[in-house]
Amino acid sequence: MTKLVQYPSGAYVLERDAYSTPVLETYHLGIDFGGLSAVNNFNIIVGPTEISGLIGPNGAGKTTVFNLLTKVYQPSKGTILVNGHDTSKMTTVDVNKAGVARTFQNIRLFEKMSVIDNVKVAMNNSMHYNPLSAIFRTPKYYREEKRIHQKALELLDIFNMSDLANTEAGSLPYGAQRRLEIVRALATKPSLLLLDEPAAGMNPNETKELMATIRNIRDKFNIAIILIEHDMSLVMNICEGIAVLNYGRIIAKGTPKDIQNNPVVIEAYLGKPEKED
């Protein structure tokens, strides 16, 4: 179904992405904590509309990779290119401006703020008025606030959350909080969305819904998505490319089919091959 072609650099990407700049490239990315090398020689190329998965046993360094990509951690070595721009020296804020948005393994919302304000915070960088026009309420303030209110509502509407707009974010049910985190990340208009265990704590029905949502996001916003996930049915179903991480190293890369049949992966991670229901 998904056909891979080779980039000039030698990496494989989806056929439909073959002639565009990859949204993410990392070369020899690594970080050491003290003497321990948590991630080592991490090379990955992600096409502009690809959904890819990052899997591996607990403690393999998956979240560390996300933290490196968003510069929460400073990489000890290696290069990160986002849409062809080097982000390895940037701050977290600038990486976001360069087009990377993320969610967190343990939900990190602005809990005391309303749902719509959570989204508006993420849209802050697209708003243009200074503190003085905020204090003295110039027409520009009203214009911009109205515009952003409309945009935030539209975005929430896509995820069926517009009726929750004025609810306090911390009081939302768990699934809605996860969804809001995704909405907030999308509000920064990223070209690459990093989802850290989006299905954690969800029941099979919610997971199924989430799969549809993730596909929808890709199709509607035309962005690339990388997700960390332990739920194999989700990963194998929606990911077009998968990288398997163990002890901070990529031990296998390829399509879901390749990964499922890869003996190294089976040995390191899956144990015995199992049938998914």
Binding site: K97, N166, T188
Partner: protein
Amino acid sequence: MEKMFKKIFDKKHISRTVSYLIVIVGYIIIQLMMNTVGIKNLFKSLLVPTCCYIVAALSLNLVVGVSGELSLGHSGFMSVGAFAGILVSGLLEPYLAMGWLRLLIAMLVGGVIAGIVGLLISIPVLKLQGDYLAIVTLAFCQIIKSLLNNIYLGVDNNGLHFSFVQNKVVLSNGGRMLLSGPMGATATTRLATFTAGFLLILFALLIIYNLTYSRFGRTIMAARDNRIAAESVGIHIRNTKMLAFVISAILAGMSGALFGLNYSTLQPAKFDFNLSILILVYVVLGGLGNMTGTIFATIILYVLPELLRGLQDYRMLIYSMILILIMLVTNNQSLKEKVEALILKIKTRFLKKGSVAND
């Protein structure tokens, strides 16, 4: 018209409306009382300082409550504003007869200078977090005090004379000392009025509320609630916190200027660590981020010790006991829930009348 009415009383803006109303109604009542039955001189003398402390507490609440950083140097900014204001007023005195204009200029200059100092301080301070930030702001407050304790500044026909040593400032005939070290400012013309204090409170509320209900308020609160998440959506934490810090310093400077011009003499030692703590107590007991509460707490806790003067030595004992009691009551969860339920009841009844489909 109806829409405007709705906006004033909806869930989000009700606290703002209440704050403004309290201040305006309070002002009108006190003015009426002054013009009819009259007020004891003791209370009259408390009016302007109360206004100053309210503004100082409101501005500190912007940093501690809204921005979530514990600052113990707030009296430092008041001090800078006070002495800058006194200087400006003193220098302008021969040229500008109108008292209110001089007061206005003094307050503006005091605010601007305190703001500049706040900006400079915030650069090192905001690299720190939590307790460390508190300690550095505390040190700043002490530095300002020591510095002002050693400044001798006089003016005569030849211009300004400045020294860090007392007898170096020699003034020709007709010269005046503006600042004389630990003695501070002496022979200041008193310009502060209750009306000026009232207007300053309104101005402070305007700035704080309008800032809070704007994109800046949202980012400030986001940076407080979750630093890492805020950075991940492109919020520059330091700039955001700096804005809150500087605005707070400006307001504190303005309140300091008003405070300074309310007394004929003012010593730098007045703005010490104790004052910072006192203002912090107003903020904490009034509620972090709660401006209406801050106004109430300041009025009660500032006027209370004066009311207790009759008790002489037991005054501070009773004052501190009341403080502890308020703290216990405000932290009592079951009591809080009861009060919240009551407010909700009143609100639903009130809002039924004026249809609130404004979501």
